[in-house]
């Protein structure tokens, strides 16, 4: 028996969330006294593959088939099931990111494995196999017991910090039994926003709301984001008004993010906005209205005018970064 971790890649690079999944899976393997094998599908650099060892994978199975460059849930499921059978994997780990959401449920159904999606804890095996997950859009947690023999866990990104070691993994080529006819969904085009850190992977996010008055004022927010090494986001009305692109909008109808630090500038903190951000570890709110509901969900707050506070904060961050350099 072993633990199998699906480590997904984008454009040939293993995602940060996958390194987290591998580290998580390796810890579970140690906990259960077994080994961790990572499975990588699609063309990826040899160095990237070996690096999976730093996060605890003893073995890496790699199917370099160029047709696997993008996720196709039917094919990926078939391959993961084949790898799981070969490795006698009882626990299969995914990241609860977009690719994980595309594949993990299919794999769970195929293997008749109970699924915990959005896990935030290691399994507690003292009485069953209990994993904690986030529910009610981050407003509560549920402890879920997986009662089936095989188990699938999808780890919520940014739940455990990465602590790379120095080991490297043994990489083995894997040639799954697939044919062209298995590819049902064809990707005709990929549209990514180049250069930006994907919001769902960002450790720091600086986000703006209607309080910034217009798109021409986003410069102050971008300067702060740059100083912090952060990604930028917005509230929904900002996206609806076309001030910022829609893929930046967070909240109930937008993205759910869980950065270490979320800085909200000129956002009132409506419940639908909070639903997308309340999993953040630390929340800073800058708002000129002391009664803004966001302060109730914040760790730190500044009551003040964003147009004065934000540039000052940017300077302070730059100064601090210089002392750290």
């Amino acid at each position: 028996m072993s633990i199998l971790i699906f480590a997904d890649q984008a454009q040939g690079k293993i995602k940060k969330a996958s390194f987290e999944a591998v580290q998580y899976g390796a810890k579970i393997a140690a906990q259960l006294g077994t080994t961790a094998t990572a499975l990588v599908l699609g063309p990826v650099d040899a160095a990237e593959l070996a690096a999976l060892g730093q996060y605890g994978a003893q073995n890496v199975l790699h199917a370099a088939d160029a047709r696997l460059h993008e996720v196709e849930s039917t094919v990926y499921t078939k391959i993961i099931a084949e790898a799981a059978a070969q490795e006698d994997a009882k626990v299969i780990i995914f990241s609860h990111n977009f690719d994980g959401k595309a594949v993990a449920p299919r794999v769970a159904a195929r293997l008749k494995a109970g699924l915990v999606a959005g896990a935030i804890s290691y399994p507690d095996t003292s009485n069953g196999f209990v994993v904690k997950k986030s529910v009610f859009s981050g407003k509560a947690f549920a402890n879920i017991n997986i009662t089936s023999d095989k188990k699938v866990i999808a780890l919520l990104p940014n739940s455990f910090p990465l602590t790379p070691g120095t080991a490297s993994a043994t990489v083995t080529n894997f040639t799954p039994a697939i044919s062209d006819a298995d590819f049902k969904v064809k990707v005709v085009k990929v549209e990514t926003v180049s250069g930006d850190i994907p919001l769902t992977e960002a450790e720091i996010i600086v986000s703006g709301g209607r309080g910034l008055k217009g798109p021409e004022n986003w410069g102050i927010l971008e300067d702060l984001a740059k100083a912090l090494g952060a990604a930028t986001a917005s509230s929904r009305p900002v996206a609806d008004a076309g001030w910022r692109p829609h893929h930046e909008h967070v909240g109930q109808t937008g993205l759910t993010v869980r950065p270490n630090l979320y800085v909200a500038i000129g956002i009132s903190g409506a419940i639908q906005h909070l639903a997308g951000v309340n999993g953040s570890k630390v929340i800073v709110v800058i708002n000129k209205d002391p009664e803004a509901p966001f302060f109730k969900a914040a760790d730190y707050g500044i009551v003040g005018d964003a147009f004065e506070v934000v540039p000052k904060l940017t300077e302070a961050v730059k100064k601090y970064k210089l002392t750290q350099a």
Binding site: A113, V185, V284
Partner: protein, 246 residues
């Protein structure tokens, strides 16, 4: 064209989240229940748009007790043609997906729409499971769905962007923002819904692979620490030394 829309019942977004029975049950007291927003605004409305533009029979399915009837009636009022309620209560995705797959098996649906996730258990799992059980292609978390004959062009969300995919029907798609514009039921729809068929069917025997042991609320926030706008250096210091996030 036949479309199946999976409808689930969830507490209203603004509901107070609390638990009873030693933290093993969601406290429903005073809570208003709604159609899961992604199911209503995106999955159902996109199905209705297709019905209006190219013609389709829109079936609805929910797995749940009689307390789901008002929810499914509302979905009928919005424009669904026929509804099925599988009379069973379970929060396990595999069990729910098995019921939906059993219903859909011999119905020749061209499209099965689900929401991207339920806003209570946040599984985003049912769509993929139904697809696997029925051996159908699956496109997860779609922001756009266009049909050209029997080929669908679907925009699927990925980290930092979108993939534009092509797939032949039949297909299972989970829906999010972008798919359609939300609507509200009108009086005619509400009246018509009363006479539309809502079949209550008994569940098939299916396994439950997970169970909720208990719930927890996150530790209460210590309360916001306010910093003077004239002392932003203090905030930087706190973020570094106390919060350790920069």
């Amino acid at each position: 064209m036949k479309i199946l829309v999976c409808i689930s019942k969830t507490p209203d977004t603004t509901a107070k989240i609390a638990f009873t029975d030693n933290n093993t049950k969601f406290n429903e007291a005073g809570v208003q229940f709604i159609i899961n927003p992604y199911d209503e605004w995106y999955a159902l409305v996109r199905a209705l748009e297709l019905k209006e533009t190219i013609g389709a029979d829109v079936h609805l399915i929910t797995v749940g007790g009689a307390d789901c009837d008002p929810i499914i009636r509302k979905a009928l009022a919005l424009g669904g043609d026929e509804a099925f309620r599988v009379n069973a209560d379970s929060a396990d995705s595999y069990y729910i997906a098995s019921q939906i797959a059993a219903h859909a098996k011999d119905k020749q649906y061209d499209i099965i729409f689900t929401g991207k996730e339920t806003i209570d258990y946040n599984g985003s799992g049912i769509g993929g499971m139904v697809a696997e059980l029925l051996e159908l292609p699956y496109v997860s978390i779609a922001a756009k769905f266009e049909l050209n004959g029997t080929v669908a062009t679907v925009n699927r969300e990925i980290e930092g962007g979108e993939e534009i995919c092509e797939v032949s029907l039949p297909v299972v798609v989970s829906c999010q923002k972008g798919m359609a514009e939300a609507r509200i039921p009108n009086m005619r729809g509400i009246m018509a819904a009363r006479t539309k068929p809502l079949a209550v069917v008994e569940p098939i025997a299916a396994d439950t692979l997970t169970g909720i042991v208990s719930f927890e609320l996150p530790p209460a926030k210590a309360g916001v620490k306010l910093i003077s706008p004239d002392n932003v250096e203090e905030l930087v210091k706190l973020l570094h030394e106390e919060a350790k996030v920069i």
